[in-house]
């Protein structure tokens, strides 16, 4: 079903109940899954709830400053112990029978310990199950159930170099703004994941109406920056671990900064000026190539963490939470340099409400749902879909790590995504890469 070498992917991987079940068992618990940003858990007892695939996860800041991720299921009957999205709590009380856990997941009390259990319930054995591996990369907290998985840093591999363009531009790193978008989206989660990994191709068609939205009513023409994007010089990155960046601009692309277009709005101008004014500082931290290059783009950390970095006034991070083969929840936060001035942060927030959330995401939602509908029957599900763009164009770049295609628009990163997906799905042990 996944013939990545020939760029052929069978539609059934997006629709099949059994494949979905195997993803839940073999992929999500074994990959490093994004859980939260450290900035969201500032103080002892700060918590938020999320998922690793189909499993509910409770992430809590500990008294010693560390982070624990716990399976959010009571050891007595499996009840969801914490039913809030976020907040602060020093203990978690199960509302079914009252088993109570501390912020580290230890069972600290239960009703009827003497009269019911006759003192024989060993509380030390009945704490919430901890996600055994929790590691952070520059503010991003990931969790993994697989004892044999590599460290998060090894898992990210070359992707870390690109992530730094979002996470490590300035001293202090990043912060996320309060509030989150959660949208129940029609379509298989992989449709969104592969798009953020490699699909620059869709932007000009799926999002063509953004050009209409931003058209200058006097001149009856679109701002130059958006419609030219496909033809600009850039690169596509992909990693053997399945991560990818669908396309990013180079310094000589003809667009000085894609971070904001002052002809679209004053706010985008403020953001563009901010990127210009911090360029040398970023170059000193990360080098000129990263200050001028791959910050402008989308990306995916395999399998379901995505970002849009410094594009038209804002940066966002996202997780695609699978909800069966035909639905996923699209979670999305705004992220920005902690050191940015207040006025710039406010401009970024205003920008992200209209782009990408406002005028771009709606058409993605329509198309993902349309794919799922199009693959509704057995004939369509047996189709071998074409993932062949740019076959054989990948190679090594003197500047950019990983496997790189010398073109903004290619499908190599999608082929790598599904190659990696197949390895998880077919490997009994952790799918190590030689």
């Amino acid at each position: 079903m996944v013939d990545w070498e020939h760029g052929l992917i069978t539609g059934r991987i997006f629709t099949d109940d059994e494949i979905y079940k195997q993803e839940a068992e073999k992929l999500f618990p074994r990959a490093w899954i994004y859980l939260a940003h450290e900035d969201q858990l500032k103080n002892y007892g700060d918590f938020l709830t999320t998922y690793i695939g189909a499993d509910r996860i409770l992430v809590v800041r500990q008294r010693d400053g560390s982070i624990k991720a716990l399976l959010n299921a009571c050891r007595h009957r499996g009840m969801t112990v914490c039913r809030a999205d976020l907040g602060n709590a020093k203990s978690f009380l199960c509302s079914f029978h009252g088993w109570t856990y501390d912020s580290a997941g230890n069972l600290i009390s239960a009703p009827n310990l003497d009269s019911g259990y006759h003192g024989q319930l060993d509380k030390s054995q009945w704490g919430l199950v901890a996600v055994p591996r929790v590691e952070t990369y520059k503010g991003l907290i990931f969790g993994c159930f697989a004892p044999d998985a590599p460290s998060l840093l090894d898992y990210l591999g070359e992707m870390a170099w690109y992530l730094d363009c979002l996470l490590d531009r300035r001293e202090g790193g990043t912060e996320v703004i309060g509030g989150v978008h959660k949208m129940r989206t029609r379509g298989n989660w992989k449709l969104a994941a592969e798009q953020f990994a490699g699909d620059n191709y869709h932007a000009i068609m799926t999002h063509v109406s953004v050009r209409d939205a931003w058209a200058d009513p006097q001149a009856h023409k679109a701002p130059a920056g958006f419609s030219k994007v496909m033809t600009l010089s850039g690169r596509q990155f992909s990693s053997r671990q399945g991560h990818g960046m669908p396309g990013f601009l180079l310094k000589n692309s003809g667009v000085p900064s894609f971070s904001g277009d002052p002809s679209i709005s004053e706010d985008q101008g403020i953001v563009a000026d901010y990127y210009k004014s911090t360029r040398n500082e970023v170059a000193n931290r990360l080098g000129a190539d990263r200050a001028d290059g791959p910050a402008d783009g989308a990306g995916l950390v395999f399998p379901n963490f995505a970002f849009l970095s410094g594009v038209l006034g804002s940066s966002t991070i996202a997780v695609f939470q699978p909800k069966g083969p035909h639905l996923f929840d699209h979670w999305r936060w705004g992220i920005m340099d902690k050191a940015a001035p207040k006025a710039v942060k406010e401009a970024m927030v205003r920008c992200l409400h209209v782009w990408p959330i406002g005028v771009a995401d709606a058409d993605d939602g329509e198309n993902w749902g349309g794919i799922q509908a199009g693959l509704g029957g057995p004939m369509a599900q047996s189709l071998k879909l074409n993932y062949q763009m740019g076959m054989g164009t990948e190679g090594v770049d003197p500047v950019y790590p990983g496997t790189v295609v010398p073109n903004m628009t290619c499908e190599f990163a999608q082929r790598q995504f599904y190659r990696r997906w197949l390895e998880y799905m077919t490997s009994e042990s952790w799918p190590a890469i030689d």
Binding site: K182, D212, E346, V349
Partner: protein, 176 residues
Amino acid sequence: MGIKATKVAPELQLEIEQYYYREAELLDDHRYAEWLDLFSSDARYWMPTRSNRLLREHDKEVSVEGEFALFDDNKKTLGWRVKQMESLTHWAENPRSRTRHLVSNVRIAPAKSVGEYEAKSNFICYRNRLSDEVDIWVGERTDLLRRDDEQELRIARRKILLDQNVVLSKNLSVFF
């Protein structure tokens, strides 16, 4: 303790209710440019997000100013959305969705300035799309209505509380 209902002149109640019915008609007839005209030049159109909170932290259930919102538009950016709705290549609305906005429970109170009113209303918006896609959004709007120089009512501020945590629709290519 009884409910202290604000006394509202019947003519004003009728005027604002009729105003909302006409507004709903403009939206359901996809006359978005005319709908945009209802807003004052300094308008704000804001739909915060909602989170599930422990009850003792319930005051944080609605996101606040400066946090992530589902809509946070001024008239210019709302105009972008309207232009997109009128584009032939806005795939989320081509073919057009069928919508029906129902507005009720209109509660009016005088605002700080003469000629301004704070009007709360509840809404149900039903969307039927393509062959069988159905979305139902329910919530509350809090408007600041202001009379312009011609004594026409304009929406100067609208806060929309959508009664959903995960937004259970694939997008919000709709206005409330």
